[in-house]
Amino acid sequence: MILTLFAVCALTFFLMNVIPGGTAELVLKHTLVGLEDSVSKEQVNQISSRYNLDDPLYIQFFRWIKEAIVTGDIGTSYVFKKPVLYLLALRLPATIQLAGVSMVIAILAGVSMGIYSALKENRISDHILRIVTLFGVSMPGFWVALLLILIFSLKLKLAPVAGYGSLENLFLPAAALSLHSVAAVMRVTRISMLETLGQEYIRFAKAKGLPLWKIVSRHALKNAMLPVITVIGFQMGSLLGGAVVIEKIFAWPGIGSLLVDSISARDLPVVQGCVLAIVTMFLFVHFLVDMLYTHLDPRIRYG
């Protein structure tokens, strides 16, 4: 995980520095907003040498890594003139709140509806749920967000259009963000549950005279959850990606909207910081998923 993180750092760092125009020029332009055209060659050179921007990229990268590890300093925003770390700390809670709530919704709703759908295989309710799932995984998250605003905020006036702070504000963004994951989780839960229910140990459990609810909750659920957990891990990635757009639409002050704004403003250190923060969260969730998987499957635990 550490190694991957290091590689991700390197990749983003080099990506950020292949930008045409050169970093020094960008820094200057940010300083002299409105006077961009007056930037002169000398000024560029001056800045370059001040920040050691003339060194080869890999040296810059290792300097950056050293700073990051030794002092925790991962750069300073060109726009806000503040340490990137400070900005991230400011924005992180909002993103964690939104993504976390959406994840919980995705797991609870997705798993329970998936089980229900599997138990009602090929009945009407199963078909309806499957069609809903198909739409759920196919609708772009930002469009769902716009529709929700259109219906719940503008037409029904039930929820605020945008904002952050209260529970009311969380409602629409979380719904828009989680829909895709709910559908995805539900889909694998259904398939995995059906597969598990066809297993011989389920038949044996029935032959033992156990009631349906016990068969499902004790014998089927744990087995059926194994592939679901993997998918949940991947859904975290799509949630974090989706959060970028959703935060932007609902003016949610998280890392996602910071990332988009920084990209538009070419505020490279912040972009880099945001990407790192998001990837770290993603990898962390994957790590948790792996642990959970091993915990649930004794065949892995005891080789």
Partner: protein
């Protein structure tokens, strides 16, 4: 008992490339949902292809007198904030999305197949290093990665294709690698190797034909994802230049007028959803046909 049954099914599914074509087509024709999706896709592609000839208006013709109109006889889907005909723009947008997505999927498929083949076939250090790279690429959430690359490259059709290909190839590579590893163990490959066939020959004749079906399923499903990514990036204003008609960008512009002209937010989104659903149905159907043991039993 279950074995007997499973074997029977397995026999029906096909592992030899020659059997693909005819059997596959027959199966597709037995499935109404796939037929329907296929027909819809053909219509959509046709519309996209001939968009310049069939669209009622010039998609870029600005007509400020008729801006933000609702659906009417003249403008079936209404007009946008510059008075441009929404239907024409959606049709031309289909062209943008489908062509970019085709490019991305083809490039990713090609790159992924090549990398996956190399990793799976040669193993050892080659596999180690390629797998590492794949892992790193997959540890970025897709949209974030694409955003970052676009941030570095700037907007543009070529840049968008490049960025999305960089993001998507790793999935194909990983799947291809897995396929190669399992195909490599099979008898006909082993006998070809013992028979002294060259690496390239074996890859071309035995490995790729046997793995390609699975990869095409992935490509089909992925096609929808790529379209979603294109729309998302454009929506954020980081994908295509503002003057290219694209569904995501249309939504982004339309959302400013949501109060007075909501259909501008509705129709382009419908178009995206529709096309993604088509690819979803096709991909799932193909997977069901290739892997009939996918679904399990029932419970009373």
């Amino acid at each position: 008992m279950d074995n007997v049954f499973a074997n029977r099914l397995r026999k029906k599914s096909f592992s030899l490339p020659e059997a693909y074509g005819s059997q596959f087509a027959k199966r597709v024709f037995q499935r109404k949902d796939m037929l329907f999706a296929l027909a819809a896709l053909l219509i959509f592609a046709g519309l996209a292809l001939f968009a310049p000839f069939i669209s009622p208006y010039d998609p870029n013709a600005i007509d400020l007198k008729n801006k933000n109109l609702g659906p009417s006889e003249e403008h079936i889907l209404g007009t946008d904030y510059l008075g441009r005909d929404l239907l024409s723009r959606i049709l031309i947008g289909a062209r943008t999305s489908l062509s970019i997505a085709s490019g991305v999927v083809l490039v990713s498929l090609f790159l992924g197949t090549a990398a996956g083949c190399a990793a799976g076939y040669y193993g050892g250090l080659v596999d180690e290093s390629i797998s590492r790279v794949i892992d790193i690429f997959l540890s970025f959430p897709g949209v974030i990665f694409a955003l970052t690359i676009m941030g570095a490259l700037g907007t543009g059709i070529f840049n968008l294709m490049l960025a999305l290909s960089i993001v998507h190839w790793a999935k194909y590579a990983r799947m291809m690698r897995g396929q190669v590893l399992s195909i490599k163990k099979q008898e006909f490959v082993l006998s070809a190797i013992t028979g002294g066939a060259g690496d390239f020959y074996i890859i071309r004749k035995h490995i790729v034909p046997n793995a390609i079906a699975t990869l095409l399923v992935l490509a089909t499903i992925d096609f929808g994802h790529v379209i979603l990514s294109i729309a998302t990036l454009s929506f954020l204003g980081i994908g295509l230049p503002a003057d290219v008609p694209e569904w995501g960008a249309m939504l982004s512009a339309g959302k400013e007028f949501m109060r007075t002209a909501p259909y501008q937010t509705i129709f382009p989104g419908l178009a995206i959803t529709f096309i993604v659903i088509i690819f979803s149905i096709l991909g799932d159907g193909m997977r069901d046909i290739l892997d009939p043991n996918h679904e399990g039993g029932e419970i009373d």
